[in-house]
Amino acid sequence: MTKTAANIPITESDAQYYAGQYGPLKNSSGGNQTKWSFPDLNTVLISNYDSLAFGVQVRDTGNFTAHLLATSTTIPSLSNQIPSQNIIVTNTANNTIELKNINGSVIPNNQFIFLQLTDIARGDNWGSYSYLTLNDIINNFIVAYTGQDQILTRVKRTAVLFHARRAVQELSYDTLKSFKSQELTVPTGLSVPIPKDYVNYTRVAYADNNGVLHTIYPLNGLSGNPYELPIIDGKTGIPSQSSYGTNLEAAQSIIEDRWADANSNNITGDYDAYSTTGVFDYAWWKQAYGQRYGLDAEVSQTNGWFSINERTGTFSFSSGLVNRVIQLSYISDGLSYTLNSIIPKMIEEAMYAQILNRICLTRMDVDGGSKAFFKRDSYAKTRNAKIRLSNLKLDEIVQVFRGQSKWIKS
């Protein structure tokens, strides 16, 4: 998934944006035409092959198909689709593709080429006008803030680059919307790997049969995932070493094994009709009949627990969650897959302020008063960005407030 950022002003036609279709484009060159450009698309075209000569597939994430149409009204279909091994992208700046010069793939004179984006590429592009790229931010900053008679007379492009990327990271942690999540089924081993671009989680929840999410809570010290498992001599308590001088490690943690086998009812105090453990029964004074004792409110929940096992690099779940479908929502740093990440337009001004503040803080030629001003400015604009991204809409707040006079059982 690679979300795109739209050009300003918008260059895509309605068909290009909504249907992901480009063309049909006519070959009027007088001969076969092998090179075609699709410059108006926001999407950067990706082909499955990088070379027409050797025909070795290098990826399966190509994001378009091309069709050879005899007339402008021919319906694009599988029968006129150009085989993917006969197409490569030669220039990503203006989306130029090259076709293999053989029958059925090259476009003859007076015939047409038609480009269709895949559904995934089309989905990545929908909503793209609310984003701009980090490169845009960097270029805009250099034009508007640096140079002769500007605040920063002389600043290295590399410095802007560094501070812009740092700003993206920081804003990703607490300001940008957290949209990354994975749907997982908890395996019998009760552990799943930490996602590749994971920095921190925002919510872990399981989905019930209605698809409603129920938050799963962290262990918070209830159990643990030891980082090392040294094998201790039973008498001296000294770890045993291998013949190479390193501590011997146990294959499995005893704590984790016990936690995996634990009956959560013993922790949550969940009611068991056939056991009166922990319940004031009829032998007690009538006023306490049916009430419980010894409950800890923090752990009295039945959704389950998770922990991050740093030793194994996994999310581990309590045994009651086995085979449950969970949603792991997390944040990354915005730079995991491309250094030219996309930025919501809502935080554009905050980005400029952050870059300016960070650069000025490191410079000798900026006076203390200006530094203090830029710091306050950066803080205020970041706060504004956060409020904007919080999406506080009047109608939605009113809807929440409608519950203000409802009694809530405690």
């Binding site: 490169n135 590399t158 560094f162 990327r165």
Partner: protein, 240 residues
């Protein structure tokens, strides 16, 4: 507009020949003229640097900075690398005199290439956050070559566009020998004689500078003294 080489030569001769002070041969004139044009040409950049640090005006025709830039704009040009590269090393154009900037046509909308030293390059490549990219490239500039990073893998001399100042063409007062053995000017249109390339607003200075050198050639200190005084006066006036 360029300065007519014949006008300069005849003016210089007129001044020198007044009171029979001496004579400047075409060969000597061509040598001195080349020297003078380069002197004035180099001074443009010194002046530009001084003016850019002074308070500016945006009143039409009054900005010294703009005026100086107009003087050398005729020498500003853009050209691709002069070699057919097989690596990420791009040789500068052969007529490059002063390097201005370079852009990277491999990137979207040809972004500028940041020129950095070897030391800085060695530092930035250590950090993930300062890695150069296709749209934010960097280059080391040495041995008249730009070594651009990231390496594009496929190379063409059109990858890099140099924006630079070229050197002015040397002025030449060419001649044929006339019927009585006199020097007859060979017009520029014949292709051998060359006008001064610097703008005609510098004509007075060109003549004064040539006179200054001519005084040395004809061994007349008075001419050198007078020319130097006038040049200094003009210089002071232009930088107040």
């Amino acid at each position: 507009m360029a300065i007519n080489v014949n006008t300069v030569y005849t003016t210089v001769l007129s001044i020198l020949n007044k009171e029979q002070r001496g004579y400047l041969t075409p060969f000597e004139f061509n040598q001195v003229a080349t020297q003078v044009q380069l002197d004035i040409f180099e001074k443009f950049f010194q002046d530009y640097n001084q003016y850019i640090r002074m308070p500016q005006t945006d009143v039409e025709f009054a900005s010294r900075m703009d005026h100086t830039m107009e003087e050398f704009q005729i020498f500003e040009k853009s050209a691709n690398a002069s070699n057919a590269p097989t690596t990420n090393e791009y040789t500068q154009p052969t007529d490059l005199h002063r390097f201005g900037s370079a852009s990277w046509t491999v990137g979207t909308n040809s972004p500028p290439i940041e020129i950095i030293s070897n030391k800085v390059y060695n530092q930035i490549k250590l950090s993930d956050l300062t890695q150069p990219s296709k749209n934010l490239p960097v280059a080391k500039y040495n041995q008249n070559k730009l070594t651009v990073f990231p390496d594009p893998g496929v190379y063409a001399n059109t990858d890099v566009v140099f924006n630079y100042i070229r050197k002015p063409i040397d002025p030449v007062w060419n001649y044929t020998v006339g019927a009585v053995g006199q020097y007859v000017f060979d017009p520029v249109s014949n292709g051998v004689s060359k006008d001064f390339e610097i703008s005609d607003s510098q004509q007075t200075e060109v003549i004064l500078e040539i006179l200054k050198y001519s005084g040395v050639i004809v061994r007349d200190a008075e001419i050198t003294q007078a020319a130097s005084t006038l040049i200094a006066k003009e210089e002071n006036n232009s930088k107040q």
